[in-house]
Amino acid sequence: MATHQLLLEVGVEEVPDWMLVPAMDHLRGQVAELLKPLGGEVTLAEATTRRLAIIASGLGEREQDQTQIVKGPPLAAPAPAVEGFARKQGVTAADLGQESGYYQFTKVTPGRAATEILSEKLPAIIMGIPWPKTMLWPGKGGARFIRPIRWLMCLLGDAVVPFAINGVSTGSQTFGHRQLGARTADRKPQAVPVTIENYEAVLEANGVILRAAKRRAKLVEEVGQDNSLVDLHVYLNEWPAAFRGTFDPAYLDLPEEVLVTVMRYHQKYFAVHGEDGKLKPEFIAVMNRKDDPDGLIRHGNERVLRARFNDARFFYEVDQKRTLADRVEDLKAVTFHKEIGNYYEKTLRIVALCDDAASQRAALLAKSDLTTEMVKEFTELQGMVGGRYAAVQGESPEVSQAIYEQYRPLSMDDAIPASRAGQMVALADKIDTLREMFRIGQIPSGSKDPFALRRAAQGVIRILAEGELSFGLSQLADDEKLREFLLDRVRYYFRDVKGFAYDAVNAVLAAGADDLKDVALRLAAIQAVRQTADFEPVAAAFKRIKNILSKAEFAPSQAIDPALLEAGPEADLHAAFVAVKVALSGDYGAQLTAIASLRPVVDAFFNGVMVNVDNAAVRQNRLTLLHSILSEFSSVADFSEIVTAN
């Protein structure tokens, strides 16, 4: 059977770049699903800011006929009943089949034509694309879409698949790039006829590079960088072309972060660094056209950047009239939270939490940059601006760096502050926020976390686990709810971020969760020793010991009496316990290996010795022995939390 190709193009006003990939994935999936009964397969799914395009091949004329067996009356039924059944199926009794003592009718529903299916289903599939933010179009009661659809093209082979959305009907024509595409004599966009075969070539001739990978490769080559800004331009421009511009090197005196932020985030330019890592007075911009022969576009972009940098210089100069130290008092006018107080008060609390001169000085100045013009303009640069200003205002490098890094880590991927003072200030700031928010009852629940307290807590955990500070969690968390909240983040950190087994995390935390660096060491040791043959059996034995002790409601009251020990497995266990205990030293790995070495004697004990004997003194002594083993060897981890195979 001859098969057809399908081409669908949804022409839409400029769709935000970041929405296109997920939208296209969805559309591709839905169309693929729709085409399955027709035998069709999606071979191209591409999006530009003005079009969503799908090409599929292998579509049959129609879907397969559906056959259904309708069971009729028994063969012994009276003739009128049989005729009645046949009539209902639209046939005569002679047309009925027979099977296992019954009449039956094989009903064939002819498969619907591909065009019919596509016409019926595509509008809802297109309108069903989930967009993060939609608009009503053309008004109340109308459709919701990301932006108005301006044309629809849908071809099955040579024929248009007829359907319409909000008054826009399908045709066999597309439109090219707004400026590079065909236009009428009075400079209006000119529709261009296409076939499935020449679609991509016609678009290219009309200033549109259809394939994202092609646009991307072009940009990566022209820009010489490969990052998320490339992706943005891939979906912002139908014909992206990079070009270089320059700016006055005098602006390089401004903080580099400010220059980069203006270029990258405000202007979507690539900043250019030299081989020495220093910022060069250059930028790379991307235009949505092929070239700029007169340099007008470069000139315009340079002019805009100059104005932006001038603004930044103005802010910088105004800001230098008062130092960060002068500004500390101004923080009384900056509210942190209406129920908690202002940033001046917060500053004093952070200073009080810091434990050395450098971190205290940094903490005192840390929030002052909130009052600068630069941070009011570039809020995302808070901290960095303060750090840069501190350096030019004569603060020590240690203090400046700590101010600079105070908000780190900003995300799971971000590093913690590199310096000890930076870690101290960051920790103090975060823990203060957590304490105060918990104090006023702002405790995150479910998806509600308006003050990003989980992120703050995660920062605390990472700084404690990865940094140089040695604070205990209980020392920092002054309330039970906060302690639980932090512990929850500790579990998340070691399981989901660090990838430790959940039972190992539980076991280690049960043996002590205060010192996170110690927790990390113990976890690493368990992970290493876990693979050895003796470890899990010993863990299982510890669990058994714990059960026995809890069943017996044992409370230690006296030391082990060696005289009461029975020769054989019990005495052996005791001897081994004493020997291991005495020798227990070195890192956690060595300790765990030593404990695991108890396996043969522990096994022998449980095989040969009854704990619950009638003699109370002996029983008590045995329980004491087991309790000693458990408590003595549970400082690394509570082995009873380890999930074992048996």
């Binding site: 006003e13 400029e14 935000p16 770049d17 800011t49 933010k133 939609t134 608009m135 009503l136 179009w137 053309p138 008004g139 109340k140 109308g142 932006r147 108005p148 301006r150 707004r178 400026q179 400079r187 209006k188 966009p189 912002l236 421009n237 202007q267 330019y269 911009a285 235009m287 949505n288 056209r289 700029d292 007169d294 007008l296 576009i297 000139h299 315009g300 972009n301 002019r303 805009v304 950047l305 100059r306 104005a307 001038n310 603004d311 103005f314 006018a333 900056v334 509210t335 209406k338």
Partner: protein, 300 residues
Amino acid sequence: MPTPDHLYYQDVVLTLKRYWADRGCIIQEPFDAEVGAGTMCPETFLRVLGAKPYRVAYVQPSRRPADGRYGDNPNRLYKHQQLQVILKPSPADVLDLYLGSLEAIGIDLDKHDIKFEEDNWESPTLGAWGVGWQVMLDGLEITQFTYFQQCGGVDLDLIPAELTYGLERLTAFIQNKDSVYDIDWAPGFQYRDVRYNDELQLSVYNFEMADVATLWESFRLHEAEAQRLIEGFKALEMPSRRYPLLAAHEQVLKCSNCFNLLDARGAISVTERVGVIQRVRRLAVGVAQAWVVQQQEVVA
């Protein structure tokens, strides 16, 4: 006659007005009360409500007291001029019409880079929002394009396109000037000659001399007056065409201006800010909802 590659500021304005007049827009004059943006004027804020088609264009001087720079900053103005165009409902070729307007003022789009970059607009004080773009010309934002969705908290019957041209920026681009004050406004007159005094003196007033107590008192008085008028409308047995909701709207604009002045004066703490915005918003929403009711009565 100005040559096409160097229009005077006033020619840019006249050409754009002519262009939109030729496309069915009523050419209105600026609204005669202080506003922060052309959107707040009744020709936009109230006209976009309801099911009646409308097309209008007007220049609106827009006051943003906090943006004042004493006439020193080449790109920032206390009061700038917007050309506001409302096309309700938005026609299918709205973006082509818009691009045509740029060519009309001599911008050859075959030589420049034009991009429509996502920029959704929201005015918390007006209970209004829309989706759209900032239009970038060689990296410069020259126009805000918005498909209004809600105004005064009311869903719109017909989605209008709102085009807001920044006239100073656009002209500075056309004339290749680095400072708005260097723009040639008319033969022999630069922007500086026409507007420098307002920028300097009003910056002094807004930042240094505006009396905070007086502004707060004005805010309260206008708020109370707006509230009284809105309540009065609600109390009517039959919504009447002659009831002065337009006066209530003017009172809301006065409140908004007082708020902007207080803000520039640094008299509104971050904590208070949200509350004051909500007070203005409540009024704006009240007027918009009443207006919809009143207009329905008129139609019926």
